[in-house]
Symmetry: none
C-alpha cells in the first residue's frame, strides 16, 4: 500500500478546523445543550469519536468555537482603534462600518448570540468574552472619547455611556437578526442603520470644530 495521499494528509490537518466549523453551525442552530456531539461529528464528516481527539469535552469544543472567532475579527479592530490619534468621526464611522461588514460576512454575529445565550451555562466563557472583547472594546472607545473630551471635542458625560450610544444599535441589530429574523421578523439593513444612526447622533456628540 502506498503512503497516505496528500489529499488525505490535507484533510487530517484541517480536521480540527472542520470540526469547529461544524460545531459552530450546530451550536448556533440548537444551542449548547441541544447540540449533539454525534451531529457535529457527522457534519464535519468525521467519526463520532474524532472530536474527542482534539477537544476533551463538549465544553472545550464550545470554548474553541467562541475563541476562534475572536482573534481574527476583533483584535485587529481593537488595535486599530487603540492606535488611533486623529479625528473621531471617521474612526467611529470606520469601526462601525467594519463591524457591520464583519457581522454580515463572518460568523461573528452568531457567536455573539451564542455567548449571550449560553452565558448562564458557561460563566467562564462569558468572563473570557467580557475580559477579552467587551471590556477591551468599551475601554478602548471610552479612552478615545475621554481624550477627546479633554481636547474639548466631545460632549461631557460618562465615556462608557457615550460608547454605548455609538455602538448599541449595531449590537441590537445583530441580536435582532440572530434572534427574531429566523422566526419571521423583518431584517434590518445593518449598513443603512449604522449610517443613519451616526448621522443622527454624531452631531450631538461631537462638539463644534471636531467634525474635521
Amino acid at each position: 500500500m502506498p503512503s497516505p495521499s496528500p489529499r488525505w494528509r490535507r484533510q487530517k490537518e484541517t480536521r480540527p478546523a472542520d470540526i469547529v466549523r461544524a460545531a459552530l453551525d450546530v451550536f448556533s442552530e440548537k444551542g449548547f445543550a441541544g447540540a449533539r456531539m454525534e451531529e457535529i461529528a457527522a457534519r464535519a464528516g468525521v467519526s463520532k469519536g474524532a472530536p474527542y481527539l482534539y477537544f476533551p469535552t463538549k465544553e472545550d469544543l464550545f470554548a474553541a468555537v467562541v475563541r476562534d472567532v475572536v482573534q481574527p475579527n476583533i483584535d485587529p479592530m481593537l488595535q486599530m482603534a487603540a492606535a488611533h490619534n486623529g479625528a473621531l468621526e471617521p474612526l467611529f464611522r470606520a469601526i462601525t462600518e467594519h463591524l457591520g461588514h464583519t457581522v454580515e460576512t463572518t460568523p461573528l454575529g452568531r457567536v455573539v448570540k451564542l455567548v449571550i445565550s449560553e452565558s448562564q451555562t458557561f460563566p467562564e466563557i462569558a468572563r473570557i468574552w467580557h475580559d477579552n472583547v467587551l471590556d477591551k472594546a468599551l475601554g478602548t472607545v471610552a479612552a478615545l472619547i475621554e481624550r477627546a473630551q479633554q481636547r474639548g471635542e466631545v460632549r461631557p458625560g460618562d465615556p462608557r455611556n457615550h460608547a454605548l450610544t455609538i455602538v448599541s444599535p449595531l449590537l441590537v441589530g445583530v441580536i435582532f437578526q440572530e434572534t427574531f429574523v429566523p422566526v419571521g421578523a423583518k431584517p434590518f439593513d445593518l449598513s443603512a442603520l449604522i449610517k443613519q444612526h451616526l448621522d443622527t447622533v454624531l452631531p450631538g456628540l461631537l462638539l463644534e470644530k471636531t467634525t474635521q
Copy 2:
C-alpha cells in the same frame, strides 16, 4: 406505590404563581436545558409532581414564565405610547425612563435575556415575543416618529432605524447587565445611561423648537 409521609396545605390559588416565580429564578440561573423541574419544584416549596398539575410540560412552564411578565409590564406601555399625541421628547423620556425603572424593579430584564437565550430552542416563544412585544413596540414608536416626520418635527430617515437609535442603549444595557455583570462586569447605571443618551441624541433627532 404510595408515599409514606405527605404533608401539604391546599393552596390551589397561589401554587401556580409560586411555581412560575421559582421557575423564572431557575431558568434565569441555569437556562432552560439546565433547569431541573425538581429544583423548580423544590424552590417553590412543592413536590416533584406538583408543577405538572398546572403545566403539562417543562416547555409550557417556560412559556408561562415568559408570558406572565409581558401582560403587566409591556402592554400598558404600548397603549400609553399608541395613544400619545403631544410632543415627542417628553414621551420618549417617559417611555425609556419607565422601561428602565421596570427593568430594575421587575423580572422583565431576566425574561428578555431568557427569550434571547432560548430563542433557538423555542422558536415559538421567539415568535410570540416578536409579534406581541418587539414588533408592536417598534411599530408603535416608528409610527409616532413617522407622524412627527410628516409634521416636520423629526429628522428624515427610516423610522424603524430611528426607533433603534432611541432604545438600543437601554436594551444593550439590560443584556449586558444580565450577561456580563454576573461574571464581574462593572454594571451600567441604567437611569444615567438613558438620560445621557437622550440628552445626546434627541437634539440631533428632533427638529425645530423641540431641540434642547
Copy 3:
C-alpha cells in the same frame, strides 16, 4: 337542610357497582396497567378518591371486576351440569348454547380476555379463575364424560381432552372476538359456530344408541 333525598341514597348504594362497571370498561379497553384510576372514577361519575372508599387498591378493584362476573354467570351453569343425569347431547348443546348466549349478552367474554391478558401480572387472579372456573368446569364436564364412558355412551379417551374437543371452538371464538375483531377481523357467528361444531363432532364422540 333536608335529609338526603332517596335518589341520592340510591346513588350511594349503587356506587361500588357503578365503579366496578366503569372499571371493567376501562380495564377492557386499556388493560390493567394502562387503566388509570382517575379515568375509572370519571366514567363512574365519582370523584378521584371515591374508588378508594370501596377498594383499597387498583388490584383489589381489578379482582372485584373479575370476581363479580363469575358468580352470576358461571356458577349456575356448573351446578346445572353437575346435577345432570340424562343424555349428554342435549346437555352439551344446552351448555354451549347458554355459554355462547352469555358471552354475547354479558361482559363474560371481556373478563375472560382480561384474565388471560393479565394472568402474568396477577397470578392470584389466574389461580382463582383456574380453581373456581376452569378446573371446576373442566372437572364437571370430564366427570360427566367419564360416567358416560362407563355406560358405553362415549368414545374412549382422556375425558379432559374430550372436554376440550367440545368447548374449544367457543373459547377460541371468544378470544378471537375480543382480540382481533377490534382491529378489523371478520367476526365469527358464535351460535352458528357452536351448532356446526357440535353437529360435526358429537356423532364421532357419542357412541351408537347414545343419541337419545
Copy 4:
C-alpha cells in the same frame, strides 16, 4: 458526565438477537407494561442503554420479539399447507402435529399468549398478527376445506367454522398452558390431545372413504 468503568466486548452481530431473547423472557414473565428495559438489558448481559442502539423504543423491541418468531415458525407451515393437493386427513394431522411440536420446542406459544395479552395496548401488533398469521392461516385451511367440499370430501358447512373445529383445542391448550399451568394447573399433553381430538373429529368431518 462520563462513566468510570466500562467493560465490554464488541458483539454487534449477536447483540440484537440476545436482546430480543431476553426481552421475550421478560415480556413473557411480566407483560409489556411490567417489563423493565433495565431488566431486559441485564438479562441480555448488556448495559441499560444498549437495547436502544438497536430498538428505538420499548414498543419497537416488543414488536421485534413478536415479529422474530413468526417468520421461521409460521410461514413455512402456511406455504406447505397452501401448496397441498392430496388427501386432507394426513395434511391436517401433519399440520397440527407440527404446530404442537413447534409450540413445545419454540417460543411460539409464549408469543401467541403475548399477542393476545397485549392486543389492547398494541392494536398495531394485533393487526399484524391477524393479517399475517391468523387470517392467512384460517384462510388457507378454509380454502383447502372448501375445495374438498366441492369434491364431496368434506361435510357441508362454513369452512371457517370447520377450520376452528380442527385447530381450536390446540390453541386452547396453548393458552391454557401459558396462562394457568404457571399457577398450578395440570398441563395438557398437547400431542395426545391433538391425536385424540383428530381421531374423534375427522370421521365426522371427512366424508366418503376417508372415514376411518
